[in-house]
Amino acid sequence: MTPLGDLAAGDRFLRVMWWCLATGVVFAFLWSAWVLLVPLVVGYLLSAVLSPPADFLHRKGLSKGLAAFAVLAILLGVIGIGLWFAAPSLKGQYNNFIHNSQSYLAAVNQQLDGVFKFLENLVPRRELNKARASFVHEFNVGNRPFHSIDQLFNIFPIAENVLLATVVTFFLLASGTEIRRWFVSLVPNRYFEMALRLIHRVQTQTSRYIRGQMLDSLANALLIGSALWILDIPYSFFIGAFAGMANAVPFLGPIVGGVPAVLLCLLGVAPTPWWAVLAVLAGIHMLDNFFIYPMTVGHSLHIPPVAVILGIAVGGEMGGILGMLVAVPLLGILRGAIVEFHSSLCGYRIL
């Protein structure tokens, strides 16, 4: 680039103005990005998943905008129809859960008595009582049973974020190429080809990873939900959906996903023995490890265990349970980006 001193006064002024404007835009973006982070991330993930059907419709002759609109309309339609049919059952399960929550709490308290008696030998009694009070308070604030479930869903103000995420998805599907071209046009000539290659590689790798991970989670949700329904475990739909989402978190996910079902058996809510549920969940986990995961996600984005644990801790601190669930796929994307970035810097002899 031409040094600032060699430029004419007008050109220098314009260039300084340009950099001021660019800095302002970056700061404004960072300021607003915090609020828009969830819809932006969800929109990006959705567009990565939906780009093949949108490309298919575009190939069949629809304009990009129309293809994006059609894909989103079909998706929302399918979700809407699914909810329409599932709503009575979901509502029944939810009402049943609320109705029985006090008796579950009583059962948990009873179970805790045994645990606390054992722990009294190891930990000072005062600390134990404090921990117990905090635990009960977390689940029963203001006589609202299982308050933390409300908290879980409040993290994600659904209607507002769904709308924003849909808009982001639409624009990324319809104008992703133009947005990328505009961004690349800002890169100086020396790094232009490298930037283009980097964006392409990262996008391809992360799209595959996200699509694979979503398919894997869906397969797990269906398998676990169906297995629990057959085993006559209550709330099988919710537990299956939760286990499917939790499965995106390596190591801890399958354990956390299985806890609610086993806990319901231990509390006597479900008639099935806890070991039977545990055995079925372990079987599904093995099926996933040996067949489903290699077919859907593969091993392209292996994340080191330490990074997973740190990611979950940071995600949990920033966004609660949803933060934990989103942290690992984001780590996968970040890892892919860093690997490609490093390889590009070496390839272009910048490193």
Binding site: P52, R59, S185, T204
Partner: protein, 176 residues
């Protein structure tokens, strides 16, 4: 006001440039037999870059991921040989293709390309070609066939030049 590459790359596509690009592309051998609507589609995939005189476009050994069409100006191809130093290979005028081999094998650039005069290039890269193959496979096949024809023609010319050389000193031929 002098126009630097930064400004040129940011604020291009003015004064009906898209239209003139499409006209130019329709007469280019790379898009031979490709219709107007498809040319518009390809034009939308190309990346316009402007280089100052003497500016390096890519360096020998860099990872290559696409090729450039010389829209205006000219490009010198230079090879850095450890024994002979810098060897000038060719000067490519308007309409030429630069760096086309890397679109096929992602190999490192075999030569350094330098803009001889203020030069405008249009680049087509791996990602855009992949997208073209996904969305319009027929068009991508036509484009690649034309590129193959151009490469075959270039190879033919090189072979003819080699035949013109007297093989009095076999090492000369081997060097070439």
């Amino acid at each position: 006001m002098s126009e630097s590459p930064l400004w040129a790359n940011l604020f291009h596509r003015l004064d009906g440039e898209e239209e003139s690009l499409r006209e130019w592309l329709s007469s280019h051998p790379l898009l031979k037999g490709i219709g107007g609507r498809d040319i518009r589609h390809i034009a939308a995939l190309l990346h316009r870059r402007q280089y100052e005189s003497g500016e390096v476009i890519f360096r020998q050994g860099d990872i290559g991921s696409g090729f450039f069409l010389v829209r205006s100006g000219s490009v010198r191809l230079r090879m850095e040989d450890p024994r002979k130093g810098n060897v000038s290979l060719a000067i490519l005028p308007e309409g030429s293709i630069v760096g086309e081999l890397s679109i096929f094998d992602n190999s490192p650039r075999s030569a350094t390309a330098i803009a001889l005069v203020p030069t405008i290039l249009y680049g087509l890269f791996e990602g855009d070609l992949d997208r073209l193959q996904a969305t319009r496979p027929g068009l991508a096949a036509n484009l690649l066939r034309n590129l193959g024809t151009m490469l075959a023609l270039r190879l033919k010319v090189t072979n003819e030049r080699l035949q013109e050389l007297e093989p009095s000193d076999p090492s000369t031929l081997a060097d070439i």
